[in-house]
């Protein structure tokens, strides 16, 4: 189901949380809302779910204005950051809550519950007490609970935020496979660039309540809208030049044995190694190398920059608040 936000504004106690936010999510598309804390991304999600009334703008589902439709009649599914499971009900009671308040008959409810639990890899846990679940399990139950009423749009608010390490990565992969399988329209809030890139067909970068850029992960990486977006995505080769900035993507910086620079840091991150190189002119550049034959700290290296990886972007004139 197609989801449209039209010039949404939200002000709470006189403070502007969202300002003129417009987004268009196609049927079956997955949009990641990416931004630092305080950028308004969770508020945007609450507006879509109907939990926060916008002070300006409209929310459309399949072209129909639902701005005034209360949360319980919107048919959106929402997964909260730390699950928010009902403590007085067991797993089945939580997952079956939506079908129950919708008035579905008992046997269909039970079918929905086991189907949803199946989807999240927790089949057979119906009678578990939710207070005994681990963080990852609780988040899976919350996902199953959101899926059981078969929503048109699935909303996730930092679903992996409370998890860490390998568990987080595994659930991230599971989520992607699940999305592929369900063909749902998904809006997914995160502050983690990697998570946004993996789970989003497109990524909307939010900054101080406004949309800074909406693009596919590849486009975003190739052409960040301004220096702030480039830095937020993790690029460090951003050099200010008058009222413009030059961004050199790290993979466009090639390093080989030779003269012209010294490696000052080399950190392995899985298959790639992130290098910091100080050139003879004093400039520091970030580069990436792959494989195992890579320079180490103190090595003298020659540095080439692929002109395709150099982007000229405008400067953002706001305050950087991350």
């Amino acid at each position: 189901m197609r989801l449209t936000l039209e010039r949404i504004g939200v002000a709470i106690d006189g403070r502007r949380i969202l300002d003129d936010v417009s987004l268009d999510v196609a049927d079956g598309e997955r949009l990641a809302l990416l931004g630092p804390s305080g950028s308004g991304k969770s508020t945007a999600l609450r507006v879509i779910a109907g939990l926060q009334a916008p002070s300006a703008g409209r929310v459309l589902l399949e072209g129909r204005d639902v701005t005034r439709v209360p949360a319980h009649r919107r048919r959106t599914g929402l997964v909260f950051q730390d699950a928010a499971l009902f403590p007085h009900r067991d797993v089945a009671g939580n997952v079956g809550f939506g079908p129950r308040v919708a008035g579905l008959p008992e046997d269909e409810r039970r079918a929905r519950v086991s189907e949803a639990l199946d989807l999240v890899g927790l089949a057979g846990t119906e009678r578990r007490d939710v207070t005994t679940l681990s963080g990852g399990e609780a988040q899976r139950v919350a996902l199953a609970r959101a899926l059981a009423p078969r929503p048109e749009v699935l909303l996730l608010d930092e679903p992996l935020g409370a998890l860490d390490g390998p568990l987080r990565r595994r659930l991230q992969t599971d989520l992607r496979e699940l999305f592929d399988q369900l063909e749902l329209t998904v809006v997914h809030v995160t502050h983690d660039v990697g998570e946004a890139f993996e789970l989003g067909d497109r990524v909307a970068v939010l900054r101080e309540g406004r949309v800074a850029q909406v693009a596919t992960p590849d486009e975003l990486w190739a052409r960040p809208a301004d220096d702030w977006v480039a830095r937020f995505l993790g690029m460090t080769n951003v050099v200010r030049d008058g009222d413009r900035a030059t961004v050199i993507r790290p993979e466009a910086v090639r390093v080989r044995t030779g003269r012209g620079g010294v490696v000052t840091a080399a950190d392995r991150d899985g298959a790639v190694v992130r290098l910091r190189v100080r050139r003879e002119d004093g400039a520091e550049l970030e580069a990436v190398a792959v494989g195992v034959e890579v320079p180490s700290v103190g090595d003298s290296v020659a540095v080439d920059v692929d002109p395709d990886g150099v982007v000229d972007v405008p400067l953002w004139r706001g305050e950087v608040s991350d």
Binding site: A49, G50, L51, A53, R68, P70, A71, H72, R73, R74, R75, T76, G77, L78, F80, A84, F86, P87, H88, F97, G98, R100, V101, A102, R145, A146, P149
Partner: protein, 526 residues
């Protein structure tokens, strides 16, 4: 508009408790004000009463006994607060629960227990009053100071030790300043309770010792000088308002307490002996009056028996009815009072939890205005048509529900606030209507606090004395009123009947506590 509707429904929620308080709290106070300041339709400031020797003496004794009681309570409660908050040992939770027992006991029972405990001659004296106040209020010190103490980061003391501070220096330069806000808060609460103490003083003080509170009763109910009573009430109100203001300010300073979160260690070495001694002595001292009460209720002549209890079935000249009627009356009144307190308290708590701060303050006022003031105000306000309630049996539960109301609200507000807003949101997103959210999410989560609040209101109403004694009809006595009447008459039989009724009342309060805690809570959904 949605927002308008929400504002409207919130106002409607607050309207019930506000109307109730206006009619049954503000109006009686206005009646007191009018009676003290207006004579024959003209303003007449009663300087004669304000500056009289009686007023001066009564005010002086009220302040004196409250100050000394507070100091003694702090001295008695601090060691126990220390032992219970800083150490872990077997049976700690039992001791913690036991320490609270005196606080939930009716004042009449506490006073009677000290008559049972103390030897003849001392049983009605200043000492009896002070001891009863300490007994009653130690729980406040242990709870307020103890909870604060337990939350303080232990590493502060370790840091002070590594910096070279000796044990005494650590206590003086670290413990005392850190605890200061909690101590001040506990002290002001205890002071307020002692200042407005009624049952204990009217029973143990006899005719010799009068506080503002008991003198109001004396003037109104014995001497029928309503004007003097009203003026004393005015002075009492002013003094209480000042105390509440100060304590409110102190309590706000408690907010910044940092939570240490470490688990308390077991006492080691010499600490074991000190902690053990403190806990054993405290428990023994708290248990002693109650044991004495039970023993006295069972002692007949030189031996023991249930004669005092069986005598409760027979009419006596002390009451117009058989004493067991008083038990029945108490149960009926308390049931009605608890129902009223819940009916008013639930919307009040909802409104307060929704951010109505002003209402919160308003709801706590009956607690500060003291029970006897309320009773006296009822007497003055509801004496004439169209609101002549004097002969209506409803006047008693209405007065009692007003006393119980602050407890109900206090029990419900934190629970209402604790219902995670996201649970409601999660339910709404899953398709639950507001009604379904209330039924499926809020009610099950609030079953326990509701049971506790109802039980609390019932228990408070059962033991209520200060307000009830003003408004109750002579032929409809409650148990505390019956105990008071028995104690006011000479003779071993009357004292024995009072003791027996105290034991019955204690049993009823204990039963209520157990029922609201066990049956209602465990039986219902978790």
């Amino acid at each position: 508009m949605d927002r308008h509707r929400r504002t409207l429904s919130r106002t409607a929620t607050a309207a019930v408790p506000i109307a109730f308080l206006a009619l049954f709290f503000a109006w009686p106070l206005v009646a007191i004000l009018r009676r003290s300041l207006v004579v024959d339709g003209r303003l007449d400031v009663p300087w004669g009463v304000v500056t009289s020797d009686l007023t001066r003496e009564v005010l002086w004794f009220t302040l004196w006994q409250a100050t000394v009681s507070t100091a003694l309570t702090l001295a008695a409660g601090l060691p126990l607060a220390w032992a219970l908050s800083r150490f872990r040992f077997r049976g700690r939770s039992v001791v913690e629960a036991f320490v609270l027992v005196p606080f939930v006991l009716p004042t009449v029972v506490v006073a009677t227990a000290f008559i049972a405990l103390l030897p003849d001659g001392v049983e009605r004296s200043v000492w009896a009053i002070l001891l009863a106040h300490v007994f009653f209020n130690v729980a406040v010190v242990v709870r307020v100071v103890g909870a604060f103490w337990a939350g303080l980061d232990r590493r502060l003391w370790d840091a002070a030790a590594t910096l070279g501070a000796s044990g005494a220096q650590r206590r003086l330069r670290l413990t005392l300043p850190l605890l200061a806000p909690a101590l001040a808060s506990a002290a002001s609460i205890v002071f307020l309770f002692c200042f407005t103490s009624f049952g204990v003083i009217v029973i143990l003080g006899g005719p010799r010792y009068a506080t503002l509170e008991t003198e109001i009763y004396n003037q109104a109910a014995r001497l029928f000088d309503l004007r003097t009573a009203a003026v004393l009430g005015l002075i009492q109100l002013a003094a209480v308002a000042a105390t509440v203001l100060v304590s409110g300010r102190l309590e706000r300073r408690l907010g910044g307490a940092r939570r240490g979160g470490q688990e308390a260690p077991r006492p080691a070495g010499r600490e074991r002996i000190v902690v053990g001694a403190v806990v054993l002595c405290s428990v023994a001292l708290l248990a002693l009056p109650l044991l004495a009460l039970v023993v006295r209720s069972l002692s007949v002549g030189d031996g023991y028996g249930f004669d005092h209890f069986t005598a409760l079935a027979h009419e006596t000249p002390a009451l117009f009815v058989a004493p067991w009627h008083a038990v029945l009356n108490s149960l009926l009144f308390a049931t009605a009072a608890a129902a009223i307190a819940l009916a008013v308290g639930i919307p009040a708590a909802v409104a307060v939890a929704g951010g109505r701060r002003g209402l919160d303050v308003l709801l706590m006022l009956p607690l500060g205005a003291s029970a006897a003031m309320l009773g006296f105000g009822f007497l003055l306000a509801f004496a004439d048509p169209p609101l002549d309630l004097r002969s209506s049996p409803w006047i008693v539960p209405l007065a009692q529900s007003l006393v119980a109301l602050p407890f109900v609200v206090r029990a419900l507000v934190p629970a209402l606030r604790a219902v995670d807003i996201r649970l409601r949101e999660a339910a709404a997103v899953l398709g639950a209507t507001p009604g379904q959210i209330r039924r499926e999410i809020e009610l099950p989560l609030l079953a326990r606090p509701l049971a506790v609040a109802g039980g609390l209101a019932f228990a408070v109403a059962l033991g209520e004395f200060g307000a009830t004694v003003f408004v109750v009809r002579a032929d409809w006595p409650t148990v505390p009123v019956a105990i008071f009447r028995f104690l006011g008459r000479p003779g071993e039989d009357n004292v024995g009947a009072a003791m027996a009724l105290c034991v019955v009342l204690m049993g009823l309060v204990a039963a209520v506590a157990l029922v609201s805690e066990r049956v209602l809570v465990r039986g219902g959904p978790r």
